[in-house]
């Protein structure tokens, strides 16, 4: 599994080591060049001093290095060396520190060169061509001054030691810094990513029973705000979905308990007292089974329409014709109950799922036919304008109060929470509304002061709109 903290730690450490190594190397070389430069400056000063102290006494060249500043040229403290050659290449003077040995001659004057000294050490040497000062003016005018070659060399051991020390200090600092960063970076990253870890822990604690939980957004890092907002939105959607499923299961279980109890007690009575088995018992069993089938089918249709799976392709439908046709199924019942129907329906072609629309209209008619008081009037009116088609179904609703209207579309809601002979389960109106919503229509109910209950189904009328 990829860990952001581990990955960041690795990348930051690699970057740090590369930068640290580069910085240390740069510092080392800059310091080395500075040390060598200082060493060479000192060498140049010594060359100038030796050349100015060289005198020509009738062809004999003398260098007076008795001053205490030139102790390093003495044989008892050999750190610096010089040797002077005549134009013919003959060594005319050399320092005591050479002990009679010769210094190597750099090929060009002016720039110090790295040389191997007679004592085996490495050092740096500088060549200077000069004419020594004439003692007591012994040679006359027009006499050419002899040009000598002076080489001054300094032992490089102290320089090498300084460079080694510099390297050691650099390496030690590097190791110390690297160790510190190895310890520090993971901890800093861990602390920096703490809110993410906290978020992970909170998320791990959420299960199907705690979907009401929301991640806190107050005091959260700006980078995590969008993630937490999306997670909270996801939780809200999950909660609604789980609640819907839970309600479905609970409603289903609750509504099936009574028919199951009927079925079970019928069977147990028949087994225990076979002589008491009535002639219509099988019809009873079949009726209970059909009732359970209707409940399950309706609930499944509700669940599917909640997920918008119920709607088929929208095709041109004559809603006026469909409404009149749908009424035929309830006409006999309405006539038996003495209901008078007032029709105001015309032919209007609209795009719809004919099956769903018929189911919606059928549910409205079934309610009117069953619940309108005997001998009362049922009004069915179809209106259409430039953008909408509106179907209104109204009837007198005995015993219904305004508070009940809000519950009409709740699943399994029935006035008095009672079953009515196994025909109504409180699923028809919720189903009709779900179907309407699945098609993009609306279904509402309203109760006026005279207890006239009116259902209003509104759908788009694109043919007119265009």
């Amino acid at each position: 599994m990829i860990s952001i903290r581990r990955q960041l730690t690795r990348e930051m450490l690699v970057a740090f080591f590369v930068l640290l190594s580069g910085a240390l190397v740069a510092v080392y070389f800059a310091a080395r060049d500075e040390l060598i430069e200082q060493f060479d400056d000192s060498l140049r000063a010594k060359v100038l001093a030796i050349s100015s102290l060289t005198s020509n006494e009738g062809g004999r060249f003398q260098v007076d290095v008795r001053d205490r500043f030139f102790r390093s040229f003495h044989k008892d403290n050999p750190e610096d060396y010089f040797e002077i050659w005549s134009a013919t290449g003959e060594a005319v003077a050399r320092s005591d520190s050479l002990g009679g040995a010769d210094l190597p001659q750099p090929d060009r004057p002016g720039r110090p060169r790295r040389v191997r000294l007679p004592n085996g050490h490495t050092g740096r040497a500088l060549l200077l061509k000069f004419s020594p000062a004439q003692e007591s003016g012994e040679h006359g005018e027009g006499e050419t001054k002899p040009v000598l070659q002076l080489v001054v060399a300094s032992d490089g051991e102290s320089l090498a030691e300084a460079l080694t020390e510099l390297l050691s200090i650099g390496a030690a600092s590097g190791v110390l810094l690297a160790g510190t960063m190895l310890w520090l970076i993971p901890r800093v990253l861990k602390r920096g990513l703490q809110p993410l870890a906290l978020l992970g822990e909170q998320a791990a604690g959420i299960d199907a029973d705690t979907l009401t939980t929301r991640f806190p957004t107050v005091g959260l890092a700006a980078e995590l705000q969008p993630i937490v907002s999306r997670l909270n939105e996801l939780l809200a959607r999950l909660e609604i979905s789980f609640e819907r499923e839970r309600r479905f299961s609970a409603d289903l279980a609750h509504e099936l308990r009574t028919p199951l109890a009927e079925l079970r007690s019928l069977a147990e009575c028949a087994i225990k007292w076979p002589e008491s088995r009535e002639a219509g018992a099988d019809q009873e069993v079949l009726a209970v089974a059909m009732q359970m089938q209707t409940i399950v089918t309706n609930l499944l249709m509700l669940a599917r329409s909640e997920h918008r799976q119920a709607v088929g392709p929208l095709v041109p439908v004559d809603i006026g014709l469909l409404v009149e046709d749908a009424w035929q199924s309830y006409r006999t019942l309405a006539e038996e109950r003495g209901l008078k129907v007032r029709w105001e329906v015309a032919s209007v072609i609209i795009p719809a799922d004919a099956g769903l629309l018929r189911s919606i209209v059928g549910n409205l008619f079934e309610n009117a036919a069953d619940y309108a008081p005997s001998g009362s009037e049922v009004r069915v009116r179809l209106e259409h304008n430039a953008t909408e088609v509106v179907l209104r179904v109204a009837n007198h609703a005995e015993g219904l109060d305004p508070a009940d209207v809000a519950k009409l579309f709740d699943r399994f809601w029935r006035k008095e929470e009672a079953r009515t002979g196994g025909r109504h389960f409180g699923l028809g109106l919720p189903l009709a509304r779900m179907f309407a919503q699945a098609m993009g229509w609306t279904l509402t109910a309203a109760l006026d002061g005279q207890n006239q209950l009116e259902f209003t189904l509104v759908g788009p009328n694109p043919a007119k709109a265009n």
Partner: protein
């Protein structure tokens, strides 16, 4: 024992009525809360089986009203509501027992029987009167070593008298507890049943157990406790 069933499902009403009658109970049926409350207040039932979701008046309202009116009849709530809060609400409203649909018929009958026992302050399953033993669980009666073969209604009559052993039980009380609304109140079903039970008990033993208190009713007890008016 007389039981009132208040249940709006006609099929369940029929099944429960059959099962309870076959088990020897007198059964009255009601299809809604109003009718159930009226019956419960008009008669002295041993047990009421009450649904909660009822037309006109819900079961909990019926139960609360009964308790408010001082009715202490044992009530078994028979409902599809299965959550713990529903059960707590039902029991707190004054129910004595709670059974969830769908239910086992045997369990329902056992619970009704248990409530009947509690109605007479007895937890014992076997009632002994002299040399007669009445097993309320097995619904069997024997006298001495001899089993007595009784019809369901006769057994119920004997059990009712046994539960009120030593007390004078009036004909009206017997009619109220043993016979349901289907029996003609002017008939002499009680006297006939008493006579029949006496005859069956006499086959296994000479000592009379059911004694007549003239003008008052009947009492079940040993001969030693018998009053001289017999």
């Amino acid at each position: 024992m007389r039981v009132l069933v208040v249940e709006d499902s006609a099929r369940l009403q029929r099944s429960l009525g059959t099962a309870l009658r076959k088990s020897g109970y007198a059964v009255d049926l009601a299809g809604d809360g109003e009718e159930g409350l009226w019956l419960a207040e008009s008669h002295d039932y041993d047990v009421i089986i009450l649904d909660i979701m009822l037309p006109k008046r819900d079961g909990l309202s019926v139960l609360t009203t009964l308790r408010e009116h001082g009715k202490t009849t044992h009530v078994l709530l028979l409902t599809a509501r299965d959550t713990v809060p529903d059960r707590v609400k039902g029991l707190r409203a004054g129910a004595d027992d709670y059974l969830i649909k769908p239910f086992d018929l045997e369990e329902l009958l056992a619970r009704v029987q248990s409530l009947c026992r509690r109605a007479y302050g007895s937890k014992q399953a076997v009632i002994k009167v002299g040399d007669m033993e009445l097993d309320t669980l097995g619904r069997r009666v024997k006298r001495g070593r001899y089993p007595i073969d009784l019809t369901a209604r006769e057994y119920l009559l004997l059990e009712y008298l046994a539960r009120r052993r030593g007390q004078v039980v009036t004909r009206a009380e017997i009619e109220e507890h043993i016979y349901d609304g289907q029996v003609d109140p002017m008939s002499n079903v009680v006297d006939s049943a008493i006579c029949s039970v006496r005859k069956k008990l006499a086959v296994a033993g000479d000592e009379p157990l059911i004694h007549t208190r003239r003008g008052l009713g009947y009492a079940l007890d040993q001969a030693a406790a018998e009053a001289p008016t017999t």
